[in-house]
Symmetry: D2
Subunit: 331 residues, 4 copies
């Protein structure tokens, strides 16, 4: 709340009813945590509090409302793919980036490799599946893996107002079992789709997955995306409009793993999930004057029990409920 | 123009500048017809005028602007998949329908069969690829193929204000070379995903593909979808809100064949294309007051030379230009 | 026994011991019938006697030994693929035939379609999977489906000394549920791999599957193949040597569905199975003088309970035992 | 010739006519070298003499005939897969080995990965494709990569009478471009199909590929396999009969990459090829008394220009010719 303007404070008070409702909805949706399971393949994620559910919404005027376990720190995992994609687009240009990864949804699991073999050349289908994200990580600007990773942190620092930390334990834990990612990276290297060595690309990719955030952080990034790259509170443009739009489109079509179609249908707001249970959502402005946040907002959700597709089980249900009640859908 | 109210007429006059611009853009984009080719596999489509490009936009208040060859009558082809999907959703309910076809994009060509073999049960991935559309056609309400097809025409009649005709020559021509569709239909029948016999499902599906429309027809349907199922000129609700939203989401993620991701990124409005060269677009209302059609509009485009993915080559370019200039994107 | 020469009769007496052993082995292996299940997808096959196991071996000099339920009449199913392949090779030539079907094993289930989509042109991989067999059936010599099927019966009549009958009940039963085969046939037709209409190709193919035989019939055909196309008892050449060799090679690499590799490893004699539970084996002459049938033999086995790959469960076990004891392997 | 007995020497003289014929056939088939190309992806192989063609045949009694460039030293490449497979079978037992790799042909290119993703568990289909060979390499007996590789050399030393050397230049060259193999190895590691670390498995596998041999070496190994593991000249059993038979079956069904079916049809003798242009063939004894080498023989062929499937172009043609003339087929 500290970074908000006076006017935003005022608005926030009137938003008290929204906060009360959100609190109620979170309580109602906690039961859905039992429909998921914490990710097993990354040992460090296995021990999260399976029943947690937290949410944060930040509106155009800086109003913030939170609900549930909103203070838990967790790792970004696949949500970081959005940041690396935007960073590469900004550094290299959109067309350079899209020559190295398409933006087509696939219907395949996120770590699938077979499409790289079936279609020549083996360009990854989109930057939200692991194949595309590893390619993108390798093309981060910089001559070394340290510089490349720093470039990604720079983007995050601009968006969050602080330089985030890496959870080394999660990073180390993931690296030990990252065989599917190594397989993808070697395949991509063979096809000329990595700018650096396989080991370096994987290190950058796994480090970005292990960056620590809160739901408020995700809501902040979501808000900037919702506002086409413009930060409404600081009055600064943080991302070029074209890149913000492109990123939202990719999030909507590819962001929720192979449940992206259903999420688009029943939530309808550009979102990206991670296997740690986080979801970052950007809600563009709409015409519905009567609904809260009609000028756009960012939402962060966290609930570590994930469903079969890899999305937070309770998180998806909660977003669907909020979207129905407050008309968040872009459609 | 005859169905428009007085006020709409007035608005239209002020829209003269828009019409002029659109006319200019159409002329500018005709050159892209050379980047596509008329569909070869359906003999009757092969002889279309390869250089034609026509467009029609209808706004919330009934204002209509047209450009290029806007009077050509062509067959709906895959655009009809939108109509059959909505008809089945209305008749059977959304959840019944989605049990028979998922709404996930695939990244595969529209007539692909392999995913039906790879994933059990062999539920089609979405209603915009042929597999899903054939399933949906078979579940149209009615006990016979005639009744099922009539149900689809009923929906179209409601939307268009007239009962459209079937181009028998195109229908007959397609039936002769419909082997991939027959293959899909038999596979679906084996898995229990057809309500009627294979022959009947194919007949309904190919007949719906051969329904004749103009770009104005497509714009009308697009407008109703843009307005969440409500017809702004007649003040009647023609489609339930939930079904209109679901349909727009499916169009955005799956509507432009395996180029849907790129189209979402660079046009950003729910659309459905057909191999005859038509594209139907629904533009939901946006906040950008300064742009034309900010209260939403429907767009119909026709240009028969299609690109590799099966979308009208010049049509896609023109829509991208209009979207950039007039902010049509939902993102 | 009636068609055997005097000398063969004599030899047969000395073969009494072999017959006794075979009888014993059949009894020992009946227990493996419980490891399979009668084919479910063809209603008429579902009601076979699940516990039956019968075998017949015919040697170079005409000696015949039998064991178990050796008199049951059953339908050839996929074993007929061997006959149609040889018929087309004889009528059209080997190179003409192999341009329409390759002879490469696939590792896929017999009714798989995805490889036809993945590899262009969509030439079937081998004539022992359904795709290849339907193509081959369509290329049987003759201008009508009746003539084509008659050509196949002609080959069988030459080999068996009688014109076999078609089990109409099985044929009708299969046709009703032949959707996967229809899907394959339409795909093949689209690619130019059928000489006749889809309906006709399927009719011929399903009729050949429904031809009735006994284990003695299979042993006779196996013997002629073992002898490179020469009938040792009638002293007539029934098949050209090159076609007999080619056919045996295809049987060894592709004849036992996607368990052909294991069967080659542990039985090692060219064989073809059918889902009705029959197996036809050709054992070429070997140098091992001390073993029975070292001049080559044909074997027919029947046991309707089939394993996951589609091969007779007890039949495979019995053949493995006989091969080990009597050195039937070509390796 | 030095290791042959006196009698074998005598026999060899009478084999003069065979040698003359072979010499003639080699000359005739040199032209087919132009139908292939030296492997490009391994830099060190690119510079082989594209027009070379050499052959060596060793018969049951030790008779040796050679033709063409029979003294060139080349690397085993995939032919080494036969040696590692036999070594693991001997050390761990057949059933232990087959639990870790099946013996089914696939129809896929040798470095294909998609089947590992499609079929669960991701057991390699056979030990002659790279996936299976890397698994087998990791299961060589020994606690370190050095011990494991030594075990493979031990087998080769027994078979060749000398300990072969590794071409370090080829090994280093392959390692640099081994991304597809690393991708396979990581996938296999993820599925539990490697006994050692990925790096070690690849090192062993690439070292075995770089072992240097001549066509005479290949003929010697082929002869021992032809004789079911028994060395006819030293009167020693070098391999258990069951393992020799199994290996020959796997060579016949899977040994010539995805042209194994055609090779079985038109050559018909168990063989294994490598991308360096070598082919090792085992010809089991046959009954045809009138033909040379009817007691079995081993054949080594070398011609570095390989065809699309990865087999020596002229080598395959030459073997087909020899097989037709001297009846080498097992069928």
């Amino acid at each position: 709340m500290d970074r908000m303007s006076k006017d935003a404070q005022a608005e926030f008070e009137t938003c008290g009813e929204c906060a009360a409702r959100l609190h109620h909805w979170v309580e109602q949706h906690k039961k859905y945590t039992s429909e998921g399971k914490c990710a097993e393949y990354i040992p460090a994620l296995r021990y999260a509090n399976q029943e947690a559910l937290g949410v944060c919404i930040i509106g155009y005027d800086g109003e913030i409302i939170k609900g549930g376990e909103a203070d838990i720190v967790f790792t970004m995992q696949s949500i970081s793919k959005v940041i690396s994609f935007m960073t590469v687009c900004m550094a290299r240009g959109i067309s350079y980036t899209l020559e190295r990864t398409d933006v087509e949804p696939t219907g395949d699991p996120y770590n699938s490799i077979m499409r790289l073999e079936l279609k020549k050349p083996a360009r990854p289908f989109n930057p939200m599946i692991n194949a595309g994200a590893i390619t993108v990580a390798s093309f981060l600007p910089g001559g070394t893996k340290e510089e490349k990773f720093a470039a990604l942190l720079d983007t995050l620092e601009k968006l969050l107002g602080r330089r985030p930390t890496v959870n080394e334990k999660v990073y180390t834990s993931e690296k030990k079992t990252a065989h599917y990612n190594f397989a993808l990276a070697h395949f991509l290297k063979a096809g000329g789709y990595l700018e650096c060595e396989v080991e370096d690309a994987i290190e950058i990719y796994l480090k970005q997955c292990a960056i620590e955030v809160t739901v408020e952080d995700l809501a902040k990034i979501g808000l900037v995306l919702a506002c086409d790259g413009f930060h409404p509170l600081t009055n600064k443009r943080l991302l070029p409009l074209e890149i913000a739009r492109l990123t939202k489109a990719v999030m909507l079509t590819c962001g929720m793993y192979n449940a992206s179609g259903k999420f688009a249908a029943f939530v309808g707001a550009p979102s990206k999930s991670g296997v740690s249970g986080g979801i970052m959502t950007a809600v563009p402005p709409r015409q519905h004057k009567a609904t809260p946040f009609h000028n756009g907002c960012g939402i962060g959700v966290y609930s570590p029990a994930i469903d079969e597709a890899g999305n937070s089980a309770a998180g998806v249900k909660l977003l669907q409920h909020i979207s129905t009640k407050w008309e968040l859908s872009v459609f």
